[in-house]
Amino acid sequence: MEEYLFLMHIYVFVLAIFVGFELITKVPPTLHTPLMSGSNAISGITVVGAILSAGMEQFNVSTILGLVAVIFAMINVVGGFLVTDRMLKMFKKK
């Protein structure tokens, strides 16, 4: 099973791309900017990796890199979702 794990990840990746294409083609042009900032915030999911790196027991180069990664990813996540919300609440119908 272990040697097929990488293939399984490829599998998931390819299917997710298809889901992404289906979803995003339905987003109207008027929402393209919030789509960018919102999807941007989602790409901040790297924070998961950053937390794993920063949470190691010994304090070493890996942890320092992880700490900076947590800062970067959290800027991406918090800034992205907040600014998207700020934009979306302006969109009103007559």
């Binding site: 794990l5 990840h9 990746f13 791309i17 992404g20 979803l23 995003i24 987003v27 109207p28 042009p29 008027t30 393209h32 900017t33 919030p34 789509l35 960018m36 900032s37 919102g38 999807s39 941007n40 989602i42 790409s43 790297t46 924070v47 998961v48 990796g49 950053a50 937390i51 794993l52 790196s53 190691m56 027991e57 070493n60 180069v61 890996s62 942890t63 890199l65 992880g66 700490l67 900076v68 990664a69 947590v70 800062i71 970067f72 959290m74 800027i75 991406n76 996540v77 918090v78 800034g79 992205g80 907040l82 600014v83 998207t84 919300d85 934009m87 979306l88 969109f91 119908k93 007559k94």
Partner: protein
């Protein structure tokens, strides 16, 4: 516990998918963003439960600093600064991927920090993932910073050409890939890993620097896609499906927007990335200024009188509206015209502004209802039945030469057919050429009238005149 974590990741992935699904309508979009944010929160909580997370102080410190910076930026940024903001956030995502990949490399190395003499065997798939993560993350990081600089006016917005531009970039890319392959086989080559990171960072600068200001919608979309792919590669490094899924969703989103933007300009992605277009116009705008006839202009009073007698108006905003911050004045114009019983609509070209949907956000900020904004394909057939079109701060996207002049650099680009309307009012500060560096023959059309002045100030003048005359 492992199962709980994995199931939480699954729930989180589903929330991301539903979140984007709800972005299909402005009515549900805000809720969708909330879903995605909850998904992110769950993913973070699940990760904190991971048995590999042993200390929390650095995570907490990093999270607080990041959250403070991120929320400050999100609250402070003006709506006109949104393209820069998105560019910058992209960069942080990419930077995080690079750092995680480096960190993982050190974590997997048994000879670090103490040389144990043990053999460092890096599985090929993980090695490849680390290298790709470094490459894509670094290019996203510096590329986004340059894009931010260009949009903010720190770096020149012009097309920057340097000698041997394409060969240099190609050589650098191949060098990174070759060095990467070497590191995968010989994981102990730590210095080579740093060189790969450094060269990738330089590559990001070199790739975005040549791209001109008006091509930024493409560049920003593409970098958005890269930031997603960077997250996916990090997922491959960690063997985490949620990162792979979330990254793939964002990657797909960026690619689709990139394609839409390229189609909006009738250019190939290659052409934009190479920074081509503007060079066509710089060969000599004088060559095209042959016998065009007279430009007619109109003053505020005449324009107000003209608008007093019409029933339908379409407003076409462009980047000039953003620069002049004229969106609120334009909203006032819409209101005063509607009070007179005029049907007012907005026509938005796909590449108007500096990022996809740029005009829509600015008009939403000014409380223009979104159902008054029409995409190009939905309104282009209505121009012949329209009394007056008012073009504010747009140029190349309304140039009829794109339809009929094979010698024009923008020939073939889909445009808004404003010249088919009975009267076209063009607000501009002067008769300067647009981004493509070419004359706009529309200005010389018999049904075109120039209304000179700064967009905000000129529209405000018009609104006051309309109010006082009624």
């Amino acid at each position: 516990m492992k199962a709980v974590i994995e199931i939480t990741y699954l729930v989180s992935s589903i929330l991301f998918i539903f979140g984007i699904k709800k972005l299909a309508s402005p009515k549900t979009a805000r809720q969708g963003n909330l879903y995605a944010a909850i998904g992110m929160f769950l993913a973070i909580v699940a990760t904190l439960l991971d048995q590999n997370v042993l200390t929390y102080e650095w995570i907490i410190i990093g999270s607080i600093i990041g959250a403070l910076i991120g929320s400050t930026m999100a609250i402070k940024v003006p709506m006109t600064g949104m393209p820069q903001m998105v560019g910058l956030l992209n960069g942080f995502g990419g930077g995080a991927s690079t750092l995680v990949a480096l960190s993982e490399y050190f974590r997997k190395n048994p000879n670090y920090p103490v040389d144990t003499g043990a053999a460092f065997i890096l599985p090929v798939d993980q090695g490849v993932a680390i290298i790709l993560s470094l490459l894509i993350g670094s290019v996203t990081f510096t590329g986004s910073l340059i894009a931010f600089g260009k949009l903010q006016g720190i770096v020149t917005g012009k097309v920057v050409k340097y000698p041997l531009q394409h060969p240099i970039n190609l050589v650098l890319l191949l060098a990174v890939l070759a060095a990467g392959a070497y590191v995968v086989i010989n994981p102990n080559e730590l210095n080579l890993l740093f060189i790969i990171t450094g060269v990738s960072l330089v590559l990001g600068v070199l790739l975005v620097l040549p791209i001109g200001g008006a091509d930024m919608p493409v560049a920003i979309s593409l970098l958005n896609s890269y930031s997603g792919l960077a997250a996916s590669t990090t997922g491959f490094v960690l063997g985490n499906n949620e990162l792979i899924i979330a990254g793939a969703l964002v990657g797909a989103s960026g690619i689709i927007l990139t394609i839409i933007m390229c189609k909006g300009m009738n250019r190939s992605l290659m052409n934009v990335v190479m920074g081509g277009w503007a060079s066509a116009g710089t060969t000599g705008p004088a060559a095209t200024t042959s016998a065009k006839g007279q430009v007619k202009s109109i003053d505020t009073e005449e324009l107000a009188m003209l608008l007093d007698a019409v029933s339908s108006v379409i407003i076409v905003p462009g980047y000039g509206m953003a620069v002049a911050q004229a969106q609120h004045a334009i909203r006032d114009l819409m209101n005063v015209l509607e009070k007179k019983g005029v049907n007012v609509r907005f026509a938005i070209h796909p590449v108007a502004g500096r990022m996809p949907g740029h005009m829509n956000v600015l008009l939403a900020e000014a409380q223009v209802p979104y159902d008054k904004l029409y995409a190009m394909e939905d309104i282009n057939d209505d121009f012949p039945n329209t009394d007056v079109v008012i073009v504010i701060g747009a140029n190349d996207v309304v140039n009829p030469a794109a339809r009929h002049d094979p010698n024009s650099p923008i020939y073939g680009m889909p445009i808004l057919n404003v010249d088919y309307a009975k009267t076209v009012i063009i607000n501009k500060r002067s008769l300067n050429v647009g981004y493509a560096g070419i004359d706009n023959e529309l200005f010389f059309y018999p049904n075109a009238l120039m209304y000179f002045g700064d967009a905000k100030e000129a529209v405000t003048r018009l609104v006051n005149e309309l109010k006082s005359s009624s």
